[in-house]
């Protein structure tokens, strides 16, 4: 046990018992961050803020939401939106944050790809981040279902049906997930549990792991420069703050982040008040109707690229049925980015604009994802279906073939 002496101050009292100063230094005061990073590295803090917004508004919504197929729609659209004081605000903030968080996740992830932050010692940061993306997807999907509108009902019908493609146990699996033969009240209640209990707990745990993974290899920087953090930290602590290549998380980095978050929140509250439509499909304001299919079924914008890969394989190839091919391709797309450190065979850590082949590859990937996203919403008929097919194949090829080839060439060229 520690040797406890009479405390000289409140701080000292805590220091002796729970090492407050040490904890603060580890978490913020002497958590070293490269000086050479810009607003793109603020996405992590913005994500943390958005997650907090989702968590708090979610708690407020749960107070009035009724997870019952007969009551859910009205509890959201009438009780919360019209009767509860500022219920509309919590609902809009929750819905808009759920959509915007994916935009920021995508920016965060593609900044990581652009600057090569997934490789050479930083693999665990990348993998825990992709795990977060995956669980966030499940969280978003389970939450989308809760208002029990037309689109959420049919999206649930379509997505749960996908598990029917699993060999042998497919049908039983679908029934197990739904708790019924079709999406109905038991499905709603279990998705409610997933959305407000199990998945948030898992998310918080992975967020902690994701933060922890940064501690050893440290954050990457604009140049991909390898910094001797201990040496630079000594420089900083000795008073040479101007020449040190690192800054402490607090107040150095957070003072910048605080500003970015404030300006970001102007944009966010604008969306909440005046442009929430992009995060709420109008069709979802019709109550769920099992007897009437919407003319077009599509997911929220952030899943459209995966949805298009699902629809992209619209014809049978050899013994493989089109539906199974599509489901396989989508399942792969969902986890494909996990393996970025494997596809990239070069150990150069540098921004894409300093790696010619990689730079071209990066923008081709972005263009392909934009095409997939837009065509994921358009009806898959005629010409559109072929665009969907080729861009789906292109996605797989870019990751599985093109990236390994150009990075192997890069590695050999460097020798």
């Amino acid at each position: 046990m520690a040797h406890i002496t009479k405390a000289t101050s409140v701080k000292d009292w805590f220091d002796q018992r729970i090492a407050l100063t040490k904890l603060w230094n580890v978490l913020a005061g002497q958590y070293w961050i490269p000086k050479n990073i810009n607003f793109l590295w603020a996405m992590g803090v913005i994500l943390t803020v958005l997650f907090t917004v989702l968590f708090v508004t979610g708690l407020l919504l749960v107070m009035y939401y009724k997870p019952d197929a007969n009551l859910a729609f009205d509890s959201v659209n009438y009780t919360i939106m019209q009767e509860v004081e500022y219920g509309w605000l919590w609902r809009h903030m929750h819905a808009v944050a759920a959509s915007v968080i994916f935009l920021i996740i995508y920016i965060h992830a593609f900044v990581g790809i652009y600057y090569g932050s997934y490789k050479k010692g930083r693999e665990m940061i990348w993998i825990s981040g992709m795990l977060l993306f995956l669980v966030f997807s499940a969280e978003a999907f389970s939450g989308y279902m809760l208002p029990w509108g037309q689109m959420s009902y049919w999206a649930a019908q379509v997505i749960t049906q996908l598990f029917g493609g699993v060999p042998v146990i497919g049908d039983a699996l679908v029934e197990w997930i739904r708790g019924d033969y079709a999406v109905s009240d038991p499905t709603l209640t279990r998705f409610f549990m997933l959305h407000v209990c199990l998945l948030p707990i898992v998310l918080i745990m992975i967020i902690v792991i994701h933060f922890y993974t940064l501690r050893v290899p440290h954050v990457n920087n604009l140049e991909g420069e390898e910094i001797d953090f201990e040496l630079e930290a000594e420089k900083y602590l000795s008073g040479d703050t101007k020449n040190s290549k690192v800054i402490p998380f607090w107040p150095g980095f957070l003072s910048k982040d605080f500003m970015y978050v404030s300006f970001f929140m102007i944009f966010f509250t604008y969306l909440v008040g005046f442009h929430f439509g992009f995060a709420m499909d109008p069709i979802n304001f019709d109550p769920a109707n099992a007897a009437k299919t919407p003319t077009h079924i599509y997911p929220e914008w952030y899943f459209l690229w995966q949805y298009e890969i699902l629809r992209g394989f619209f014809f049978d190839i050899g013994p493989m049925k089109a539906a199974d091919l599509g489901a396989l391709a989508m399942a792969f797309a969902g986890i494909s980015l996990f393996f970025m450190p494997l596809y990239d065979r070069s150990d150069v850590v540098a921004p894409a604009h300093k790696r010619k082949g990689f730079f071209v590859w990066f923008w081709l990937l972005i263009i392909d994802l934009i095409i997939l996203t837009v065509y994921g919403k358009l009806p898959p008929t005629g010409f559109n279906a072929w665009i969907g097919f080729f861009s789906s194949v292109a996605y797989l090829a870019l990751l599985l073939v093109v990236l390994p080839v150009i990075t192997i060439m890069e590695r050999k060229g460097n020798k």
Partner: protein
Amino acid sequence: MKELKAFIVVVIVTGIIYWGVEPYAHSVLNPHVEPANFDFAKEDVNLAKTNEQAANKALEAAKASGNEDIIKSATKTLNDTKANLDKYTAFWNDINSIDLAKGDAAKGAELVNAAGCTGCHGIKTANIPAPMDDRSASESFGVTPPDLSDIGYLYDPKFLAALIKDPAIALKVSHKFNDNNPFPMTAFMGAGGDLNAEVADLVAYFKSIAPKEMSDKEVFVNSCSRCHDMKYANVFTNGNKQSIAAYLGMTPPDLSMYIRSRSNDYLNNFINDTQKMLPGTAMPRVGLNEKAQSQVISYMEKVGDSKKAERETTSLYMMGYFLILGIFAWAWKRKIWSKLH
């Protein structure tokens, strides 16, 4: 400056995705239609022409495909659209020939009884009660016939004339009703004099008894709630729901959230011309004049989006708060970084 460049790239890529998913895909899923036209003669003839052109194109495509059955069906559709165009042109030419300015309200008042309007309709302002209570009326006719006191406020004189002369065509439900299944409201056959002059008298009468002002809710109740509920405002249909469902072929939807699920624009076009937005629908064209229609939509907005004003002011305050916070944060950041650079 490098940072600004990166920011611009992020904004452009986000902007392209937004544009593709929202306005672009939306415009493909919901093709553009001509905006609501309250000159119904023009509206109907234009739509019939548009349909004919589309049918022509479909026939050409069918011919190119070479499939006999498809060509046959496309030819039939084209002939139907042509017949439709002729029907509407002839109908509105006839209505346009009526000189509404010469209508005599006093004569119209007598005609209302002679023509048998009050056999089904009540006229409260003229102390004529409806012959049946709402429930029994909806059970016999499918839907409760409206009270005629305020139709002069809700409808244009020309639309009223059309409605009196041939309700099925004016309401655009002639695809559902024919000689074997007649529309509940019979066309006005005249009371012995000049038919068109009598129609003008009736219209003049309804204009003369119509209220000068009506609240948004009253307009909604008279125009919509004989079929539709608005449960978030405790407005429920006055008739027998099962009779209404049998009459229309389905239970008419509750309209509480329609301002959100259908948008202002869609509602404006749909109420104005149901067949344009949802071909074959059982819902009649409502035929409201521009003012009454805007009142209906404003009522739907009041019910379905009741916190709009609060939302907009609160959001503005929040944006202002974050702007001020951002300025302070920027000043603080400058202070901290002056020691770091």
